[in-house]
Symmetry: C3
Subunit: 668 residues, 3 copies
């Protein structure tokens, strides 16, 4: 990437009247230098089967080019046209809820050959049509692709073949998944029942893994087609997204991000987050760290919020804070969903940079200042390189398995709650993180691994983690780690499986805590914070040192949190869901033991700092104030210049940060 991209999604097709010239004028005023087009409008570009009409694409490309605005063209395959569904209703995915119904986007069977035939044709037509246009800098394949729970007879058939290829014999399948239970045993491949109704969580999790593979395969297939056309100076990206809880919350359950990202030149993502009083920057940081880790390099924020919903309209300053927060995590592009607010349909109240009246408004006006700063500071801020010592190990397999095997009857908490409770505390203490996954080859590059609820893991992964500690690494495990093998079969050994050795503990019983705290409040948190919830393992140390016991009349002899010197490293094990305050203390303790506690850790949320090395090899340090009150701090690093104001900053100087403010220091 040569410069920072500041962009919007733009749909000439949705305009109530011809706005192109006016819109481009307003974009230029706001420093918008890239637009994303075409990924939602198949029915406009192919109004009838085999009839193509790229008028709107042509006019937008030409006009943008003339204005010096670059374009990312999307393949329009995630929303199928009406004629296709009328001709071939079977392109809609059959799900556990039954056959599909036309209306929404993302409703097709991504393995259906009819759909694939038409998809390939429109991709070839569209990309072939635009590839030589000078405005086009890259492509996005599809959008927020998932498998839409496609699970009809054809998908079931493919799953059975996948199972036969993977396990070879039914004897192995029956054993691996425990199918004798409740007479689920399969004794002939022809008898393999639809997985849709299964009550075997391990088999269900295997099917979910297979469905994620469908997404990986589908995206790789699209990329291969686009690659036939793309110029050397163009890239192919995808707009990945996250577990959605009304905003981008956690690891995406329906896609294996690390596998799916392999096909792409650069990772792209959308990040949506609470705002107004609830703006914390956590989702920006979390989503950024995950996306940067997909390919180990800078990434594109293909969509994020402008005005968005009634509860997200930013306070003055917040749009700037958000934009620079993305850059601080390694983004090279920040683009808004979307340029203008739409006058019809599902996202009418998902507002863009412009309101429905297309006139300047406070949010647009703030965007203009961002565009100016991006343009001016691009040489210092683009391509920020980050080198973290801490990584969070995440696992789609554990996520799915914990969907099947909940922590307890009452709790709605799932895998991502554990990921986030650990990640959030690292964020708040300004520890920069990467994300790794079971197949990562670079685990050993890190000093400290944080491992939330690694419920499902092969023997080899657990052995590798033991080895990591033995060789001097530090690990913090949460509860539920090591419990099942890669097929989600509970281990038949003492728990937590193989990592018992590095952790120096064992347990065979676990209960639901009610009014349980840690005995003697060993982490000296406030009384109201000394609690645990949801899950507790009754741990007996073998070689481990006990950091905390449960305070409970009958289970007070069991350990809650332990640490163990193993080889040259230390493994910490947290046997229960703690309060955030306790988690913070445990992680702080582990960070200090790993000798990673530095000057940045003297600041804490809402004062957030992130840093990296820019193209000139200089250290760039961002300081963000995620609060409604101005703040100040003593700047602890080398002298430098504050880039927004061009003021010189001395080491140990007191620095002020406005409410919802940003400071960017480039060290000399």
């Amino acid at each position: 990437m040569q410069k920072l991209l500041y962009g919007v999604a733009y749909y000439d097709e949705y305009m109530p009247y011809d706005r192109l010239e006016k819109d481009i004028g307003m974009m230029k005023d706001a420093g918008i230098n890239v637009v994303r087009i075409a990924e939602s409008t198949w029915s406009t570009h192919e109004p009838q089967n085999g009839v193509f009409d790229f008028t709107s694409v042509n006019r937008v490309l030409d006009a943008m080019h003339e204005a010096g605005i670059k374009v990312i063209v999307g393949t329009p395959t995630y929303a199928v046209p009406t004629w296709m569904v009328k001709e071939h209703p079977d392109v809609l995915a059959i799900t556990p809820q039954g056959p599909g119904r036309y209306g929404a986007r993302q409703i097709m069977d991504i393995t259906n050959p009819t759909y694939l035939f038409y998809a390939e044709r429109i991709i070839r037509k569209l990309i072939g049509h635009v590839k030589d246009h000078p405005a086009v800098i890259g492509y996005q394949t599809d959008n927020e692709t998932k498998h839409y729970n496609t699970s009809g007879p054809n998908v079931q058939l493919a799953f059975v073949k996948y199972m036969r290829e993977k396990f070879e014999t039914l004897e192995r399948v029956n054993a691996a998944f425990g199918l004798d239970y409740w007479s689920n045993r399969i004794n002939s491949w022809e008898d393999f029942p639809s997985v849709v109704g299964t009550i075997n969580g391990s088999l269900g999790a295997e099917f979910a893994k297979f469905q994620r593979k469908l997404v990986t395969d589908f995206l790789a297939w699209q990329v291969a087609i686009v690659n036939e056309y793309k110029r050397n100076d163009q890239f192919v990206t995808q707009n990945f997204d996250f577990e959605w809880r009304g905003y981008s919350y956690g690891i995406q359950p329906k896609v294996d991000h690390f596998e799916a990202a392999k096909a792409f030149d650069i990772a792209g993502v959308d990040i949506y987050h609470p705002s107004q009083d609830d703006l914390t920057g956590i989702e920006i940081s979390f989503g950024g760290d995950v996306t940067r880790s997909m390919k180990g390099s800078n990434y594109l924020v293909i969509e994020t919020e402008a005005q968005a919903f009634v509860n997200w309209v930013p306070y003055p300053g917040q749009l700037r804070l958000q934009a620079f927060s993305h850059l601080a995590s390694g983004a090279n592009m920040v683009a808004y969903w979307h340029w203008h607010s739409i006058h019809n349909s599902f996202e009418t109240y998902w507002k863009g940079l412009l309101s429905h009246d297309f006139e300047p408004n406070p949010v647009y006006n703030e965007a203009k200042t961002i565009g100016r700063d991006f343009e001016r500071l691009s040489p210092q801020l683009v391509n920020l390189q980050k080198k973290n010592k801490v990584a969070v190990l995440v696992s789609n397999e554990s996520l799915t398995a914990i969907e099947w095997f909940k922590f307890n009857f009452a709790s709605s908490k799932n895998y991502n709650d554990v990921v986030r409770m650990m990640y959030d505390e690292l964020y708040k203490m300004n520890i920069g993180c990467d994300f790794v996954h079971p197949a990562s080859e670079n685990l050993e590059d890190y000093t400290l691994l944080v491992v939330p609820a690694l419920y499902t893991a092969s023997d080899s992964l657990l052995e590798r983690l033991n080895e990591f500690v033995k060789n001097g690494g530090h690990i913090v495990y949460s509860f539920k780690s090591g419990f099942t093998d890669e097929n989600v079969k509970v281990r038949t050994t003492r728990q937590p499986g193989m990592i018992s050795e590095a952790c120096g503990i064992t347990y065979s019983m676990f209960v639901e805590p009610k009014n349980v705290s840690l005995k003697g409040n060993p982490f000296e948190v406030g009384a109201e914070d000394n609690y645990i919830e949801t899950w507790m393992e009754l741990i007996t140390p073998t070689t481990a040192e006990v950091l905390a016991y449960y305070d409970h009349p009958h289970w007070g002899q069991y350990a809650a949190i332990t640490q163990n010197h193993y080889g040259k490293g230390i493994a910490t094990y947290i046997g229960c869901m703690t309060s955030p305050a306790i988690m913070k203390k445990v992680l702080e303790h582990a960070v200090k033991q790993a000798d990673l506690w530095g000057a940045d850790q003297n600041l804490e949320f809402p004062l957030i700092t992130k840093s990296g090395i820019n193209q000139s090899g200089k250290v760039v340090r961002y300081y963000f104030n995620y609060s409604d009150c101005p703040a100040s701090f003593e700047y602890p690093h080398n002298d430098g210049v504050e880039l927004l104001t061009e003021a010189a900053i001395k080491s140990e100087q007191a620095v002020e940060v406005d409410a919802w403010g940003v400071i960017i220091i480039e060290e000399y």
Copy 2:
């Protein structure tokens, strides 16, 4: 109507043993002078296809006639017989939930020709059979008719034809509804997808409008058949009902009351409401005002509650209070659902005037006093004429559109909540209201229009409302008015669309309020009442005077409530959902500005007064005490006579009203 009707629904067919003579005796004791029969019992009257048996109708008609009790005969078409469904399962409506299932009433496709054939035949047979009977004073067609969300292939086909007739070209359809979005564009009429799965709220709202038209057409078709038979002294009515929230709450979403009522001689309605400590009279007044406005004249309360449910059994006095409240709104008939409590099926615990034991009980005994008073006072109380200066403008189109586009993610509030929050405060300050709708020709007859959430409106309606103000009218708009055109497309101009001009304001941003009040408590409500919720528009006045600003750290410069002199009138705009206390003050302010504040406004809920002109041209004034405590007030009008007690009442005299009591004064 020559006299007040006091009635019950009566089903000889449901009786566990022959009760006719005894029942009539008890009816006579209670002053019951009309019964409604036959509308639920098709399977009894046509036990097999083409076999008719009107035995129970005959014997009831004859016995009632002998006793001097009049009869309203219903067409029995809203509950189909078992044989029809067995012969022709396709008479059941296909809905978004799939094909219908026999069991409940109101499950058929009201456009299905098989159903229509049989319906027409039973109507002709039954009405032809009874039309000359001297007991019959009128007919009810069907009952609480709706479209039952019929949306199978035949309905979809009719909808496409309706769309083609209305919009002529798909180009217009695509533009009007913004179908390019998410590839929903339709490029050939054959491709028109079922609307059942649509995520386009504008198109969904158009389909809802079409479905309401099916109801209008169906009822007009029935009325035309009945009209072929009815005598000149007989009427045809319909039992309309309201949005149901466990009781009659608001405007009916499934029927366009004003359109559907055109076919009928007189409007009928059912009104059910909370009782016991929760009895306020609001639903009686609201339902009465709507129904009276349907045809601009007196109406029939065809059903209302006697004992009803366990939480509605009236306290002593409440049945009387309710009966006279209906009259005070302009009802000429009060009839109970139902005479006796039913021993089987769905409404076993929806109790009638009699309990399951058919014996006199406290509620029946109270009904006897009502019957006596109705009989005695009929000359003074029947055909009450009302002339209101205030009207509430309601819109089915806005109601449906706001179902699609909710105020925010968390709120369950909808259009009718806004209607009721405005109506309820008018009721509590004793302002008599009519209801008008977008097609009303009499808007200009009113001094003050109250306009809740007129979200969907054509340009011409908004221009007419501007004109209304310019010519000296007063309007109070709530938030969300003027936002979309008649096709539920958001206007591309500044908001609130065309009424910006009369209101003297503009806005382009809106947010969800959290802990927001009005700055400086300008309406001097209690501190706990100074709040807004759910929705706030960030208003900038152009020519308007600001009545209230938001109290918010970032949005405090925006106006919340404004008023604007425009031409000779004043337009008030309320940009947020206020507390009821604030709404009361804003409406009080508007009423005073419109010079409509009178002596009746010195009383307030729970003391309610309503009035009208009776057949002798005299003013009749009702006073109701909707509380468990006796009350008194100074009577401010001309001398008269209290009709129940025959006591003379002098102007300025102190008048006592019992707990749950009624006073009726006829001025001399």
Copy 3:
């Protein structure tokens, strides 16, 4: 039964590796003397259609026999193999939710001939195969059998034939169920609509009764087949269960326990209950009393919890407390679900005696003490005979009817809540109870009948109850008793129907209480306990004495609770849902009047006592402390020996009971 059985469910088929020898060793250590096998593993025993493989059965039988452990063999019919569903998808039950889907157990149509053919074959093969094995002491047919709401066309056809046989003419059907209502009348048998969609609760309740009959017939059919094979020294039992609210709560709605139990030699049951701080013993007592009453003799606890769920893992001592509590209610067997925790599928977290690691753990270690005590004390504790003076009259018909006709709109309470609110107070005051049902022939053996919500009852039953009182019996009725006839038609007489006479009361109105208490707190409960809820009948005494009036401004003249001398007995009527504290006082009053208040009633929960006569004709008295605090009491009975400690106990001696402790005294 010759000795106490202490058992586990054991599945060699589920084992991750060969455990048989080791498991048997650990069982012997724990005193396990019986295992239950085979009831869930059809697909293992018949891997393909007609191919049988009883390897795992053989090896388990032989190994158990060698170890002296007995075996109960289950017919494996409640979970069908994959091949059967693939060959004949129609074996799956069609329910109101549509066709079945393979995956879970208990999904088949128990009337489907294909299923029955295969079920009969596997039963004959398996039972024929094992019948002569010396380890086999008995059989269990199927497991927790229900009708799974099977209601497809074949079931509907059978229901229509059942109706014709029962009612003979449609005239009677229409009259009995009030089908004229809403045009549901059926005028030809061919027109009989599917009951699935009915809104007629009486007809729906009849269908539920028919479905319960399907269960009775199915089980009797299985027993008849097994009986062809069983030896004289073998028994056939069934594992009945209860209304499930996350644990065994109340009377089973889907099975008529008393009818279904007739076919069996001995009643079996599973009982699951809250534990830890929520362990009360109530479900153990309730389930035991019901099961003992099924056949009027001792019974088997075929399944109960060991570690079970995270919220049930027992505190130290609780497993012992639970085991002896079962014996005290008359159980001759206590068996755990299950031996080991399963490593896959639905019940992975429903933990057994062993954890997933198969190693000894605290719960297993406690079981070892139970096994030793069972073995040692078997001669004194087995075959405990109980003779109670109090019985609770329960009715499946009333249960179903109250499902259709809820107490009120807001309440989730149902029939079993009433059963339990009465039963629980009897339990807490140490009153031993049996259960009787409408067809019981032994009602007259009791001194006091407690009758919760006998909503549905024939005239003859009500007359019999009146006669019972007249002859000197005592009855405590709750509200809602007597209201409908056996077809769930509301009685047309004054309420509570025929029992008005014995109760000396009448009412025709009922309401939902809001903030209602009993006037003057006549039972002298704490102020916070003086409340009623959910339902109140406005009762007028005829001959009854009023025990309590309602405290209500408008309904204070009505009685809430009454008692009436009728003949030589007393009938108490409770017209509302009281607080537990009030219920306790009313029942205490009735027990005293019936002269059943004895020394055991001086103890109360958490100190629970139960007693019976053992095989030597001696009185055995259990004392349980259901609390976390040690307790003591003065032993009021004859001298004896405490069996666990062999300490002598003198009458009037102070006896200590540990927290969660057990004392067993055999009188000399």
